[in-house]
Amino acid sequence: MVTSIDVVLVITLLSVLLSLASSRMMALVKIMALQGAMVSVAPLLLDKHSSLSHEGIFFFQLMFLVKAVLIPVLLFTAVTRVAIKREVEPLVGYHASLVAGLGLILLSAYITRHLAIPSTGKATLLLVTAITTLGGGLFLMMSRTKAITQVIGYLMLENGIYLVGTALTSQSHSIYLVEFGVLLDLLVGVMIMGIILHNINRTFDDVDTAYLEELKD
């Protein structure tokens, strides 16, 4: 039978594929919001988090807030300020990217099967999703030329890693201090990236990384 966790994960996978295929910035931002929401919800549906402490509840609310609301808003403002509609010429075309995404899923399924993982009883799909998201993020960063798309890729990478973390660690999240830290870093990181994006845009009237190839040997 289909459990809720599976639904969440499938949506996440779809979001990865969509992000690979979509050319519009706005669409990408929305997809990221969706993905963030899914990723932040996913752990709750795992049975090992069935019983939550107060900090737990608070933490997951906060995470939802950051991943699904704050960061997308940041991106949204950035995109509007930058005022670019679409990724004009990516290094890898959209159809190719889509195919690559599918390949990525296959690869991660393969990896998952070949990893002898003690703790993930039924959550193999979780791991597949995680690795795909991770890879998808890296792929975006390598294949897109707009700086902003790379930020999005980085976020996807973080999501993937977070999923891997939730999938693998059987450590009972006694105190969430550490996770707060991670989240904080993520947030500040995206902020700083936003600032730099803004400056890039102001300097070059564009956020294309093609302008950022002065420094070389």
């Binding site: 190839e213 002065e214 070389k216």
Partner: protein, 651 residues
């Protein structure tokens, strides 16, 4: 042993004390000179006091809580310390008038300091008794000499030369450290004394690494490339110190290493002997080919290192084949020649320095007739030339004679050793002949004949301290030539504390030193007799002056004199395969030809080889590899992903 440490302290003080006085150069130099001399005299006193008393520990401590540093004095160190202590003050004395006083303050200070540091470092190298101490001393030596070469830093080529030197010396040092590390790994101790327990294979590997390392310092072909560049670049007295004393540290290291691994394999001696012959012959051939007087002297240093190595190589072969006499004479000859070369090569560099300082010209074919302008320099240089050509009655001959003698002992041996010994004799004969050709060329072209271009009136005799230094060295050369016995015994004494007690017996020498002295004295007696007769005959004879007989050519000018290039041409061409001669000469056209430019230069195959086979490829590859860093951030992230992929395969 406190005395020796005091000496070190004084020498270093000689470097530090002048620094506050730099505003008054003369004063600073005097302080430097006095302290340095005092230190060296103290050192000599220490040597005399402990002469022949076996191995004496000097100093030891733990460095950085882990590395033991220990210094010890034994006979071999003592023999190599003598030239250091003797020459450093003389050369400093020369430097007193040689260095220009207009140099910036910091430059002069750095120079004086590095000079003392180099002296001290050489002392430390000879005393070092374990790995860390040796490494430290060795690197200090490299550093100070590098900075000394850099003295004339305004000139592009002297910067290039210094960099080249730094590279070679660092390469050598690192090779040495690998060699030491191998032995350390095999024996588990830093102390030199225990390294003879290492397994044979390790010893061999280490020896050849060390040979390369020390060879690059000593200037053995084909690792000599830095030498002919660094010496012309450095101030002359620095060249004198480096060429006369410092490169001997390479030989010292080689001998020390050979004795401490104490390995009977004959291949060691044969290799050293072979390298010695190659360096000797090719060194002097290149020297013949060069026109820059200091570069020429540099190549002749390579030649003399070759002779020293022939001696030591014969000694090693003697050890391997159990021939005591050969061992004794080989090493004695090698060590004595090391000492002699220190004397006359410094002398020659000083002479060259005086000439360059006065005329501002270092090209043989543009000098000449300086005998009248600078009589003292000329006479000392001439003496030095006779000495370095290895001719009696001067010191060069004594050491070469001992080496010949060892080689003749070796002729008796069968197999490759015998053949090598014969080859050594022929090589020595060839070197002797070529060397005398080479130095008649230098002395003749620079000091004799007529000036090839008009000399400015400012060209006069060198400064007082410079003359004094040169005269001192001449006297040293003469005394060794005329009273060889004590010096031969001194050289032989170098072996007394080493693994071969039998070979260090003076009895092996027999009456030879005495006879040698006798022969030279007989010759001098005959010479004196003839001189008297000549004087007698010439009494009341008409002595007329005239121009040189131009063989019918009515309007001779100074410029038609035979040039150094053409003097050496045939001899250099005779060694064609090893020497590259480039000649550029415009065509002679028309009935009344225009003046054509003729230029020829002799190249060093080792240098060309290095350029073609090593430097050029590396630079090419480096250029090709630079695209790694070409700006695309996507690519950079790609590197990371790729690395992950590769590494995950290793799990």
């Amino acid at each position: 042993m406190e005395l020796l440490l005091t000496a070190l302290g004084l020498i270093l003080a000689g470097g530090l004390a002048p620094l506050p006085l730099l505003r008054r150069p003369a004063c600073a130099r005097i302080v430097h000179l006095v302290l340095l001399t005092a230190g060296c005299l103290a050192g000599l006193a220490a040597l005399i006091r402990t002469w022949g008393q076996g191995i004496a520990p000097v100093f030891s401590c733990t460095w950085l809580h882990t590395l033991p540093l220990s210094l010890a004095l034994d006979s071999l160190s003592a023999v190599f310390l003598v030239p250091v202590f003797l020459l450093a003050p003389v050369i400093a004395l020369y430097g007193y008038h040689y260095l220009d006083r207009k140099a910036p303050v910091w430059q002069a200070g750095a120079h004086l300091f590095c000079f003392s540091l180099l002296t001290a470092a050489m002392v430390l190298v000879t005393l070092a008794d374990n790995l860390p101490a040796f490494a430290m001393a060795w690197e200090l030596m490299s550093l100070s000499s590098y900075l000394l070469v850099l003295y004339d830093h305004e000139h592009e080529e002297s910067r290039k030369a210094a960099t080249l030197y730094l590279l070679f010396t660092q390469t050598g040092a690192l090779l040495l450290f690998i060699a030491f590390g191998l032995l350390f790994q095999a024996t588990g101790t830093f102390a030199f004394a225990q390294w003879s327990q290492a397994p044979h294979a390790i010893k061999l590997a280490a020896f050849f690494l060390a040979l390369a390392g020390f060879g690059s310092k000593a200037g053995i072909l084909p690792l000599h490339i830095w030498l002919p560049h660094a010496h012309p670049a450095a101030p002359s007295h620095v060249s004198a110190l480096m060429s006369g004393v410092m490169i001997k540290m390479g030989v010292y290291g080689l001998l020390r290493f050979y004795f401490l691994i104490d390995d009977p394999a004959p291949i060691l001696g044969r290799t050293v002997l072979g390298l010695g012959m190659v360096s000797g012959v090719l060194g002097v051939v290149y020297a013949l080919g060069k026109n820059d007087i200091k570069r020429l002297l540099a190549y002749s240093s390579i030649e003399n290192i070759g002779i020293v190595l022939i001696g030591c190589g014969l000694g090693m072969v003697g050890i391997a084949s159990g021939n005591q006499t050969m061992t004794a004479f080989g090493f004695a000859g090698g060590l004595l020649h090391m000492f002699n070369h220190a004397l006359f090569k410094s002398l020659l560099f000083m002479g060259a320095g005086a000439v360059i300082q006065q005329t501002g010209c270092r090209h043989l074919d543009q000098l000449g007739g300086l005998m009248r302008r600078m009589p003292v320099t000329a006479r000392t240089f001439l003496t030095g030339s006779v000495a370095i050509a290895g001719l009696p009655p001067l010191n060069g001959f004594v050491s070469e004679f001992l080496i010949y003698f060892a080689a003749f002992q070796g002729v008796r041996l069968n197999g490759p050793d015998g053949l090598l010994a014969m080859a050594a004799i022929i090589a020595l004969a060839l070197i002797g002949g070529l060397a005398s050709a080479c130095f008649t060329r230098v002395a003749g072209l620079v000091f004799l004949g007529e000036p090839r271009r008009p000399l400015p009136a400012t060209v006069t005799e060198a400064g007082l301290s410079m003359r004094a230094a040169m005269i001192v060295l001449v006297l040293a050369c003469l005394s060794i030539g005329l009273w060889p016995e004590p010096f031969i015994r001194l050289a032989l004494n170098g072996l007394s504390d080493l693994a071969l007690p039998a070979a260090s017996q003076p009895a092996l020498l027999g009456s030879l030193p005495g006879n040698l002295a006798l022969a030279t004295r007989i010759f001098l007696a005959v010479l004196l007799l003839l001189a008297l007769c000549r004087h007698f005959i010439y009494r009341a004879k008409p002595i007329a002056q005239a121009t040189t007989w131009g063989c019918g050519f009515t309007r001779p000018t100074a410029r038609i004199q035979y040039t150094g290039t053409s003097y050496a041409r045939e001899m250099v061409e005779f060694h064609r395969p090893f020497v590259k001669i480039h000649t550029t000469c415009g065509p002679i056209s028309q009935i009344f030809p225009r003046p054509v430019r003729y230029a020829s230069k002799v190249d060093d195959w080792a240098e060309i080889g290095l350029r073609r086979l090593l430097v050029a490829p590396i630079l090419l590859i480096a250029d090709k590899l630079r695209w790694i860093q070409h700006g695309h951030i996507q690519l950079y992230i790609g590197y990371i992903v790729l690395t992950i992929a590769v590494l995950l395969l290793t799990v």
